[in-house]
Subunit: 134 residues, 4 copies
Amino acid sequence: MEFDPAVPIWLQLVDEFKRRIAMGEWGLGQRINGVRDLAAEFGVNPNTVQRALAELDREGLSHSERTTGRYVTDHPDQVAHLRTKTATRAADDYVARAKGAGLRLPEALDLAEKRWTVHDADPTAPDSKATNHD
Amino acid sequence: MEFDPAVPIWLQLVDEFKRRIAMGEWGLGQRINGVRDLAAEFGVNPNTVQRALAELDREGLSHSERTTGRYVTDHPDQVAHLRTKTATRAADDYVARAKGAGLRLPEALDLAEKRWTVHDADPTAPDSKATNHD
Amino acid sequence: MEFDPAVPIWLQLVDEFKRRIAMGEWGLGQRINGVRDLAAEFGVNPNTVQRALAELDREGLSHSERTTGRYVTDHPDQVAHLRTKTATRAADDYVARAKGAGLRLPEALDLAEKRWTVHDADPTAPDSKATNHD
Amino acid sequence: MEFDPAVPIWLQLVDEFKRRIAMGEWGLGQRINGVRDLAAEFGVNPNTVQRALAELDREGLSHSERTTGRYVTDHPDQVAHLRTKTATRAADDYVARAKGAGLRLPEALDLAEKRWTVHDADPTAPDSKATNHD
DNA sequence: GTGGTCTAGACCACA
DNA sequence: GTGGTCTAGACCACA
């Protein structure tokens, strides 16, 4: 995974971890790899991972059993809530930015559909967060 | 205008200025208010405005005439390009995040439409950048 | 019994055992259930129970007879002392925190009385250790 | 200020900062000393102070203006809420512990009153957090 | 100057 | 082994 140098790594980790939970890659109640393992996986300092996981805990998406490890929440509602919240925020951002670019609703929906298929074809390319100018 | 404390102010100004150009609030070839005026309008340091305007210049959306002031570009293509670029990026972001939340295309389009009408009703509320937690 | 994940379990067990002795649930000279039984009752590791009981021994509130088991002290003074010490400490903590919140004595007493009746009605709810944020 | 080795320093800092806000030592809207200054004052690492202040921010009791410094909230309601919350929690803790020691309401109130005056005479002595045993 | 991030590394209690 | 804390110190953008 590549990090956007303009955004704190721990925040990007939070997003990535949430994505994994939302997608079920980290299942309900499942054990999360140790801080040191995750740090190795992402090539960052364990402290940075720790900070991201603390945020997950704080939002109720995980909890740590001090000696056995950390676990994804086993409340399906929490995960459902995460999905809705994430999607709604993304939609709100899109709406605001599309309107700011002068789009009307039909145009905005057409564009989203078009980019969806582009993303299907090549999911890696267009992560606009990384390139801020041009 | 409210600024998100987590994002550099000058960047938020760039976005706002681009929005004004895209929306035609700042028309083609029109003179842009002086740095001090804009600084007063936004309640920020003139240096910060200066930096944002320099970025605008750099992207060819404005140019500064040393004696008479700074003007919006008079090339309609520039503005058209700005709109497309902005909208496409917004759409790409939305697609990535919606997929990350487990949405399928029809759900993503439905949600965008729903939030569009919500935003029509109350354009101030849901700027997701501002409220980072919960 | 619920454990506060932020506090070592053995310490919470010590508090619980002391409470039982202070309340007379574990009577003077009475035999205490074996480590394995208690571990099962609380759903924790026997080592953890062992550590808590050792602390009880150390404070003279219990003593272990190698062959027959562990017994609550049969000195009424020990238990009386435990009660006083516990209550005084609790009061001192309350005083310090109430003053830190800007309360005066009458307000502090009123509040304690009010919360006492609330706790009478629902003894489970407000264990402030458990809910650390907000 | 002395730190209890059994409790994370950053948490004790949070409590101390909240106390200062609740007592008005740090007034509404007032600037808070820089992270480095506070670190020197408490003899801890700036990172530790930073962590405590981030928690204050998160609870809406302060906010940081990235370049000019950090300020106490200027909403009196926030501070009032802090006071109530702190006091109620303290009372709930006291009630639970007093009951656990076998006290009845009148005894609990008498004791609190007695310790209040003791604390008035010597506010430094009886911080029970520091001495966990005996 | 300010707040904020990140790392390397030591250290701790707990189980 | 686990999560968690703390430090020293470097570094960054912003204003």
